[in-house]
Symmetry: C2
Subunit: 113 residues, 2 copies
């Protein structure tokens, strides 16, 4: 079942364009993570937060990524990491124009099996 992972953590920057430039390599590597469909990169300079919202093909993939990512952040000195894994309610999300074409297709395929 397609699964959403939301992560945020204390982060002092860089933010914005400087962050984009510095983390291109990391972003490219994330495309190789098992089961990843997409990631939205989130940042809040005022609150000093970094993070992301990820869509994965399954809860197992989301959980494996969260475990790896939290360990990587801790190695980088990040202390407070919040990670939540959620199922997606597709009928309600579809009403609200959520961009879940891949997720919806997966569910339909599953229902047909």
């Amino acid at each position: 079942m397609t699964t959403l992972l939301q992560v945020d953590f204390d982060f002092t920057g860089p933010f914005g364009k400087e962050m984009s430039t510095m983390l291109i390599g990391l972003a490219e590597s994330i495309n190789n993570e098992p089961g990843l469909i997409w990631k939205i990169w989130t940042e809040n300079p005022k609150e000093q937060l970094g993070g992301g919202v990820y869509l994965f093909e399954s809860e197992a993939y989301a959980q494996a990524y969260l475990t790896m990512h939290a360990a990587r952040l801790k190695e980088m000195g990040v202390k407070e990491i919040r990670g939540n894994i959620f199922e997606i309610n597709l009928p309600l999300s579809t009403i609200n124009n959520a961009p879940l074409d891949n997720a919806a297709r997966n569910e339909v395929i599953k229902d047909e099996q």
Copy 2:
């Protein structure tokens, strides 16, 4: 600037199909909220959490919605509500196939002005 709002809160259900049926009217009303682009409905029956990830046209719209939504949830008896507002790093999100066509278009228009 397009802004992401992530909300989650303690929730005892209903989840899944029962939630879809019960909250169709609420979902339809959310399409009328000022500045909303989309919402992904999130739920976690194991951890007893409800929530959502929203894309808004601006931080002001996201903040206004969070204030209204938190008050509505408190009236319904929900005690623990977590809401975070984030800017989106578009260059990095684009590398990771994030579904942000609307957001990207807004940024391009803004840069041209």
